[in-house]
Symmetry: C3
């Protein structure tokens, strides 16, 4: 059911039940939509406006009065006017004394003003209780009922009773209130709808940089080198062949970078001998965007799978196969079946498929609703154990694919190794370090440190900590 409340006015209402009256200052888009929605859900709504003539867009039966008249009819006033006009409200200080003002405003830029709109309003009208709410809800979503973007309404304010009343209104409208604390949280709430995927910036910039680097590396090896040495025009490789080297390399590197901070943190804890010292800020930030790094890596892996599966329908591949068959037919040269080549070919493809399958499983468990249904132990099992298994399979896939070519000199053009060799550096190093960390003596030391033991002389406080969870 998209619309949470009925359109009709309740006819069979119990007359002894008093409807709560809410006042809305302002008849712009958001003000009208909020008022309309609250009216639908059973509130009595009064609009306050500078020019209280009836507008044809207001819901039928809605009262429009002047600001001071409207303010007297209700305890709660939704202030749906722009910040530039807040000072008008200081004329109404007496009327608004003790009432709850709900600030629903948004700005156009992050940190546009020194203090948040809600705190500014609270400074102008110190006798009122200012509560910040509803600024993440769009007017169109309220009207149409299609609350696709978000049902979450961030609420903050200093007076907890005022906050509770506003949160009750939020729940009645069918939305989910989230208490963010006191009014100092208003700045963060006002910045929130202006953000654009903040946690994804570092992963996306990093992967763009890696893509560009590996792309030009491959262009040098696969397009410029053949042109310089053989006058061959291989520019058509730019469409599929070269992207199909770039994407898997970037995917493998990013997947390794997901697990690298954990290993670095373990090394740091072993080196310091305690878990009670903070990590460097860059390591903390890196650990916070591991999920986004992994999902970007999954995206590149998915592209690599698609680019690989279309190989047989490419004109270039068909022409080359046909050419090889014809050449063999004409020269009558025999090419016996090589079992080892069959093994190698099938193996690296199978390793790639299994690695991608586990990678997709990891991605599915990252979906918010799925990760909410698993407990912490299950989540860590999937992300950690299955995650390392995925990394191992993908690294093995690249290693077997490289195979003997890694050693043959013809792979090296201008002493540059193939791109996948570069991509294998970080994952292989990581897996070697992780393997060392798993060795029982080192693993025991690490587990002891993580359970609270400290390599220090404060044996008394070490004993103390072991009593606490």
């Amino acid at each position: 059911m998209e619309n949470t409340c009925t359109d009709e006015f309740p006819l069979t209402m119990n007359s002894s039940e008093k409807e709560e009256t809410v006042c809305v200052f302002g008849t712009g888009d958001l003000g009208r939509s909020l008022g309309f929605k609250m009216h639908q859900c059973g509130y009595s709504v009064v609009f306050g406006s500078r020019s209280p003539q009836m507008s044809s867009l207001l819901p039928s039966g809605a009262e429009v009065l002047s600001y001071s008249e409207a303010a007297q009819k209700s305890d709660i006033i939704i202030v749906a006017i722009h910040r530039e006009h807040y000072y008008f409200l200081t004329e109404l200080t007496k009327v608004l004394k003790g009432k709850i003002l709900v600030d629903v405003s948004n700005n156009l830029k992050i940190n546009q003003y020194p203090e948040s709109n809600a705190e500014y309003l609270a400074q102008l009208l110190p006798g009122t209780h200012v509560v910040k709410a509803f600024n993440t809800i769009s007017a169109w979503a309220l009207q149409s009922g299609a609350l696709d973007a978000s049902r979450q309404v961030f609420v903050c304010g200093n007076d907890s009773k005022a906050k509770q009343r506003v949160m009750n209104i939020v729940r009645t409208l069918g939305l989910t209130p989230l208490d963010q604390g006191s009014l100092t949280a208003a700045k963060e709430i006002e910045n929130y709808p202006l953000q654009l995927f903040p946690m994804w910036r570092f992963p996306l910039y990093l992967s763009a940089a890696l893509c560009i680097f590996v792309f030009f590396y491959c262009v040098i090896r696969d397009v410029i080198y053949p042109y310089v040495y053989g006058k061959k025009n291989e520019t058509f490789r730019l469409a599929i062949s070269i992207p199909n080297r770039v994407f898997p390399s970037v995917a493998l590197i990013l997947l390794a970078l997901v697990y690298l901070p954990g290993v670095l943190a373990a090394i740091l804890q072993l080196y310091r001998g305690t878990k009670y010292r903070r990590f460097p800020a860059w390591l903390d930030h890196w650990m916070l965007c591991r999920k986004q790094l992994g999902l970007v890596a999954l995206g590149f892996a998915f592209l690599h799978v698609l680019y690989t599966l279309v190989i047989p329908i490419r004109y270039f591949v068909r022409w080359r196969l046909k050419n090889m068959t014809l050449t063999q037919a004409m020269t009558n040269k025999d090419s016996p079946f090589s079992t080892s080549t069959a093994w190698r070919s099938d193996s690296y493809v199978a390793l790639g498929i299994l690695g991608f399958f586990l990678f997709v499983l990891l991605g599915i468990t990252s979906l918010p609703s799925v990760s909410n249904t698993v407990n912490w132990r299950e989540f860590r099992f999937v992300q950690s154990k299955l995650g390392y298994l995925t990394l191992i399979l993908c690294t093995a896939h690249a290693l077997v694919y490289g195979g003997q070519r890694f050693l043959s000199p013809s792979s090296y053009k201008w002493y540059l190794p193939p791109a996948h060799v570069l991509a294998l550096i970080i994952p292989c190093t990581l897996l070697v370090i992780k393997f060392i960390l798993i060795i029982p003596c080192i693993d025991k030391a690490l587990t002891r440190i993580r359970q609270g033991w400290e390599r220090s002389s404060k044996s008394a406080s070490a004993l103390n900590r072991k009593t606490d969870i």
Copy 2:
């Protein structure tokens, strides 16, 4: 944890805590399941039945009394009997006075009766507080704990205290209550479990119609025409070749239809010079099912990808390639490598892959849990900017695929162009109009209109509106 409450009776219960008693009229499936579940969660449950002999299916320790005896034990009575037997309850008007009656009934057809069951019950027993709840929960789900379909319970009623008490019971059972307003919402609540994907009807009917049309169009071109002119039996094409022309065409047309209402709305606003006039009803309805249109388009695109990737394992394709190779071997004709064909082939495949990848991203952000974690600006960025990029890539994919064939006369059979040419009409028109709307002077005018400016003589009210959000 599937079962939210324990099976055992609380032994260490604080004796000063009074259990709340709930009465259940009726010992059918839903009545028994609700009673059992509430008993598990700490309520004391009393059943009322016309024949109060103990049934072996009632939970052990459950009391079964006559209706009037059971009603006196509790404030809240769950009326789990069929509508046809509501009139029995009028005998108990005195006993039920002032109590809360919870109507949990469902009908077999939408709008089976002129008024909802809950309103009928309220008319029969005017001294009670009727609350509608629990009709979306199935008995089996309550028993087994596998609440897969829905945890949401729609609640409506005229008396808000009664509603609050019922909503507390809902929360104690581990479900999520949604307040729908007064009792007039009961009709919509009773219709809700009888609906079958109402928002998907228009997209699915439209895509079925498009599929059938494009299918017969392709059959005429690819099966009937070769038979008429060459006596060739190409009927095997019905299995894969023709569906692989139908699905991409329908996917492209539907994707264009997702963005067309937005463009039409913009043209309408520019023409009228204001955003304060309502759109036509068909345009509003079209804008509401854009998400479903897009998801159906994604389904067809996914089928197209699968049908394309299996091309090399088809017997027909292998036979044709083998035949071409053999013919070339025997005639000794040389077929040099055509770089332009390689470019074109690789390009349209790469464009298709990138378009499909972005399309899948769009689909993932449509999942309810993912769209709940992004704010409005992020959601619009993905659906609008990435959406148009997807449309551009898919249109380019079809254009490059058509390529020179679009102009060569041999593509036209009986003056009918290939199917993909038909499919390109709407997307190309849409992209041209959107490009025109992006031109700075037109874009400025549109932005001004959307921020509230009106091309009218009411300059005073225009000024007024600019103060409001």
Copy 3:
């Protein structure tokens, strides 16, 4: 917004508003993180510790006192110490009388002690109200704000007012409290974070067993038999060819096992003539893990699709095609186009694609967020009708693939049929039984039984039940 509360201390706080004070016993990881989080969200926090020296890891401005001093400052005390040290608290029985103790402990093994930690604490301190909460939240998640694993906090306790106060704290921290009933639920709550996918064990063990069986069956047929009879080394088939027989067989069998319990239940109800007798325990358990069986089957189907799509890029397949072409070129034998082979090849591929597409749709509707937005009728339509359609398409895919080979003697090696023939036994039997159950006379009888009719002599109680829902 990852952090739900602000970092700063509220400066513009209304002085008449009293902050609620919470006491935390213990300064270990979870104790400190909970205290820090509650401080962020506006609570005043006092720590109690055996050695109340300031630790550098406590939040700045946090008070650390002795247990008895800290306990006197607050009504609610979070007991963040290990179970082994609960007896220390008996010294404070007088101070703790009437207060709310929140037990947040976890054990290392399921059922490590005879009674739950919370009940043990309640026995030690009978004058207090013990509430179990927060044991599913990890300390690191609280600190970093990345509540990926779960926002759900299970709460249980005997005193409902104490529970309500703890649930309010949970909501203030931005988490979702779920009331599990009285303190006897504590054991289940303490076991919950130690579980590792309990509902998935049976499906995963069953599929592992099926995989191993079908794998060795195929190895005997495809590797050992050619070696025994032709000295051919076909071991390379172990990488892709044999898994691509194992995975589809297991997927088809598991998909059939999803719908088999429903059919067995229907047969049982028809046989007994009533729906009011409980099913056997194994059938109940089977019906509860149908969703997990289906998702495991989808995983195997996805692997089968990937293994099939890589067929044309395998060295073995390319070599075989090339060899066939060369042989045909040299022997000059003509191989005309066989329309029936083209039909069969295209048909089974198309059936497979359509079956997989519907299977993916089924999987998507199993996601928690998607299944929460559909009502019960829609969910049953998708899982039941579309589910059977998926099973029919996949069975047809296997049947057409087998085709004539099923009858030709060369398929039988050592009298063993191909693996897909074995896999077809259960689905075909199931579809035949389901078809019989759909015949109108049998379907009517079943519907009657499911609506409450009983084939017995208790006609009075049968009439009685028809009044109830």
